[in-house]
Amino acid sequence: MRTRLQPGDLDACIMALLVQGDSELYAIATALAAVTDAGEGAIYPAIRRMAHADWLSSYLVEVNDGPPQRYYRMEAKGRDALANLLITRQRVVDEVKQALWGAAP
């Protein structure tokens, strides 16, 4: 069963992969399409959007057979954005727990 992504999750997933190391579009798209309901086609527009916002940067790496390969790297703004996304999500979870069980978060 593939995880159903909520708004913001796709960005968070892409950045979660990139936090582990620079990567390229095909690897990111196939990795996420395998485990989530995000289509392969949704990854590239999301990456470009984040790159335009300077969350990510890209650089080209020469390969032996064929044109250079574009790699993406996390930027400081992206790390901030990822932290914000995760904190917001955690806050929602805490508030729901609080409402359901009255437990201190």
Partner: protein
């Protein structure tokens, strides 16, 4: 659909986009197909997984417009959440509409200036028709020196008419381009509304 058809279709959809950005996107998709082929996938499977060129172009153009309009916060929703993507289209649309009105006003002003040039040039040409007796009504004055001799005025008039016409032609081209982008924008909005 094979990769060439897909890339051709995408290129057609992106034709209004900045040339550098367009080339980058097309190169990235070409690389994508190469890697998928290396992994043993055929083009038909990959194009099916990527979605239609029109969907991708809409999403990519939205990214570019959002940036052009100075809208820097990713909405993190394109392709995953339709309500927010509608919101994104609306917000991006408002910011874009402001820029559009500014550009349209400038272009219209320039078109009017071009027309004024043509009229002024035509008047200068008319002076050279003696029967109209306009010589005493219009004089050509450059830095305080009266240069109202018929040859000069005929040349200046012809130059102004031609220059004005060229100016109007350029403005009309730019306005048509702007109009096409308005249609694109409305299509994106209609599509966002439909997919809700």
């Amino acid at each position: 659909v094979n990769r060439d058809q897909f890339i051709d279709a995408l290129q057609r959809e992106l034709r209004d986009m900045d040339a550098g950005e367009q080339a980058e996107i097309l190169a990235d998709y070409a690389a994508y197909f190469r890697q998928a082929a290396d992994a043993g996938r055929d083009d038909a499977e990959v194009t099916a997984a990527l979605g239609t060129p029109r969907q991708l172009a809409d999403a990519l153009k939205q990214v570019a417009r959002v940036r052009l309009a100075g809208w820097q916060t990713p909405t993190a929703t394109i392709g995953t959440d339709r309500v927010s993507s509608l919101l994104g289209v609306l917000v991006g649309g408002l910011a874009w509409a402001f820029g559009f009105l500014l550009k349209a006003a400038l272009l219209l002003a320039f078109t009017l200036a071009g027309m004024a040039c043509v009229v002024a040039g035509a008047l200068l040409l008319l002076i050279d028709v003696p029967e109209l007796k306009l010589q005493h009504m219009i004089t050509l004055d450059i830095a305080g020196h009266n240069v109202s001799n018929p040859d000069m005025m005929m040349l200046a008039g012809a130059a102004m008419v031609l220059g004005g016409l060229l100016w109007i032609y350029i403005d009309v081209r730019l306005l048509r381009n702007l109009g096409r982008r308005v249609i694109d924008r409305l299509n994106a909005l209609a599509q966002a509304l439909r997919t809700r």
